[in-house]
Amino acid sequence: MEKVGIVGYNQVKLSSDANYGRYEMIFEAVRGAIDKAGLKKKDISTVISCTNDYYDGRTISNCFTVEVGGGYMADETKVEMDGAHAVLYGLMRILSGNHKLAVVWGGSMASCFPYHATRLFETDPTWERQMALVNDVTASGFQMRAYMEKYGISAEEIAKVAVKNRKNSTKNPLALSESQNPNLTVQDVLNSDIYADPVTELMVAQPCDGVAALLLAPEQQALKITDKPVWITGVGWYQDAYYLGDRDLSTIRSMELAGRKAFDIAGIKNPKNEIDVAELFEAYAHEELILAESLGLVEKGKGPTLNTEIGGDLPINPSGGALSGNPPCATGLIRIIEAAKQLRGEANGYQVSGAKRAIASGQIGMCAQNSILYVLEKGGN
């Protein structure tokens, strides 16, 4: 696979009730990304947006955002999954040779709609929606219980992940203020409101407002635009079965397959030793452990034994992960941006020193039915 580089990015500060209109937020993210990379509007060849009709409350949610997103008279399209999948489409467009600069932006404002209630619309209308018992939170309850029972993991060990991520997010200036908490304890997490036993409120990535944008270019252009490009050397994306009963919920099979594919393309034989930092989209605290196991970073059932702190063996989510803020349709994109920041040495306050290779993941669907994984490598000097 030829090299495609991430040459710029920008993200709006996440907030639980932003004082913006939709268009200002998108304009800020996209214009900021282009300005930081030193480019102009006329350099833009293609724009890929990522929004969701149900989250925006309007049909064709990218319809009126063409001008603010930089898509005027440019090849424009929209992916309706996670922001990380929009980056995949941008990657494909660059690899085809038809385009020289791709702008990928995504995001929505969760303060405008009841997010978890909207997830009900993903359910099968014939059975699950009639009962209205399965939504993304209750499904994650199944997943956490299955994981705990199979390997004998306690709720405290899962709560430790929530504590670590929320502590990490205090150093991240763009994270959601409500999730930044340096003094959180395991007991606080376990005592917070129960959403769907055993999942409690502080284990859930809180939906919020935010938009992020990313720039992609082929190798030759990337080296002209910046001296610190981040190369995408591997990608894998898979979709698993729909019904929860058709899957083993104690693992995320779509990520197993995606990880294997991405590592194959990137030429990585031993991910635990060759990866320096990981930014994984964990919609719930227990998913971070399950993802680490599915990717082969640690043995199955031994998730809590891996030291994922910033100074540890394999730092996971030094920016706080999705627990630091989950703007629907942007979270996967922000994970890629954070991983790129680590490789460029721009993560002030939460930098993993000497990071050369990173992975970033995104997901969509109940219990991560469709997962995507990127392998990123540091470019330049």
Binding site: E2, I60, A74, D75, Y89, I265
Partner: protein, 415 residues
């Protein structure tokens, strides 16, 4: 970078105003079966990835491709979803193209599916909610609810097409008869297409003009229907296409350019499209796609075209904007029979969107039909050999135009 992409098959489900016998997964399964039936040497295991799309607002299900995993044969396989409103089908076909052209290791054959089951929801509400957010801005700026009600109820059904019609008709100096002639030709063509919706083999111009106005200058008889249906296309590399298909169809140019929003504008700020029939976006799309495909004189080099014309004035307008005819001469071409089955440049022999409009799928049915005409497997096949054809899509108030140029010879050299 990149590599040649071929389309080897296309399939459809039956279209009707209410497919009351199937739910959504079963509907797309019908289209997929029809697509794979045409290439018996391809099995489900050969398909490496999927692309899927529809307009989710009409059925009330968010990200439905998650539910349809098994009916597409996509369990434990890569799948991506793209949607862009009215052009969804074209965008999904283009996504299928890019998935193969990218050359990611292991992704060589991609099945693209686009569908819509509009009878499951309320079409006018789904269309009205496109502008719902902007309408509420106008209300804050002082426009009263009475005015807004009128805007929504009259404008939503036809939307920008009526404005395009007025300017086009005044530029080209044509009458409603010219519009009705296009409708008659397309619906009579649809009568010979097994999957089309409005099959009217004996339609006349008088029948069309005998219906009342929806919004001047468009009458009820000229308006496209709301259909349920699905469409599937199979893309693969050149080597595999030669192995699996008798006539591989090379996809030589793709583009999907958007202009500004028409009529309403965003944030209540109106539109810079003073003449809605100018369509800068369409002209730019044609420029990009033709230059990729090596076409410099579309009128002579293109043998068949499928244009996205839910209203007859649009079919006329696109044929000019995409370079097939000179400005304002399109109506004369229809009158002279240039565009019918036996003419020099047949257009919309499947009936076009005026006869079948499943919103999510219709922009994919255009390139699918164009590909089948080259393969010689179309339902209403033109008698002459088709070497180059185009499939076009257009979307609502954004004027996003998608274009796919296909031929029976590759036109680009890849490094």
């Amino acid at each position: 970078m990149g590599r040649q992409v071929c389309c080897i098959s296309a399939g459809y489900s039956e279209h009707a105003s209410k497919r009351s016998d199937v739910n959504m997964p079963e509907l797309i399964n019908e289209a997929i079966q029809d697509c794979l039936k045409k290439v018996p040497s391809v099995s489900l295991d050969d398909i490496d990835a999927f692309a899927n799309g529809n307009m989710p607002a009409f059925e009330g299900i968010n990200i439905p491709e998650l539910w349809m995993t098994d009916w597409m044969g996509a369990r434990c396989k890569p799948l991506m979803r793209v949607t862009t409103g009215g052009t969804t089908g074209g965008t999904v076909a283009i996504c299928g193209y890019y998935s193969v052209a990218a050359g990611i290791p292991g992704i060589d054959t991609v099945l693209a599916v686009a569908f819509e089951q509009q009878s499951q929801g309320d079409t006018s509400l789904g269309l009205a909610s496109v502008a719902l957010g902007e309408i509420s801005i106008l209300n804050t700026l002082g426009i009263t609810y009475d005015q807004l009600n009128r805007l929504l109820s009259a404008g939503a059904a036809i939307g920008v097409a009526a404005y395009q019609a007025t300017t086009y008709m005044s530029k080209a100096r044509i009458t409603e008869e010219d519009l009705a002639r296009v409708v008659v030709q397309e619906r009579r063509n649809a009568a010979k297409t097994w999957w089309a919706h409005l099959k009217m083999p004996n339609l006349t111009i008088e029948d069309v003009l005998d219906t009342p106005y929806v919004q001047y200058p468009l009458r009820f008889g000229m308006v496209c229907p709301a259909s349920d249906g699905a469409c599937a296309m199979l893309f693969t590399t050149e080597e595999k296409a030669k192995e699996w298909a008798d006539i591989p169809v090379y996809v030589n140019g793709v583009a999907s350019v958007a202009n500004e929003t028409a009529v309403l504008g965003y944030n209540g700020s109106g539109s810079a499209q003073l003449d809605p029939s100018t369509q800068l976006g369409a002209m730019r799309t044609a420029e990009l796609a033709y230059s990729q495909a090596g076409i410099s004189f579309p009128r002579k080099e293109i043998d068949y075209a499928e244009l996205y014309g839910p209203f007859p004035n649009q079919t006329l307008m696109w044929s000019e904007k995409l370079g097939l005819f000179e400005e304002t001469t399109a109506p004369k071409m229809w009158e002279a029979g240039v565009t019918n089955l036996n003419g020099e440049l047949p257009i919309n022999c499947s009936g076009g969107v005026n006869a079948t409009n499943a919103i999510g799928a219709s922009a994919m049915e255009r390139p699918a039909e164009a590909a089948l005409q080259i393969m010689g497997k179309a339902s209403n096949q033109v008698p002459k050999t088709v070497h180059t054809s185009i499939g076009h899509g257009w979307g609502g108030s954004l004027n996003l135009c998608t274009l796919m140029v296909m031929a029976d010879q590759p036109k680009r050299k890849f490094k």
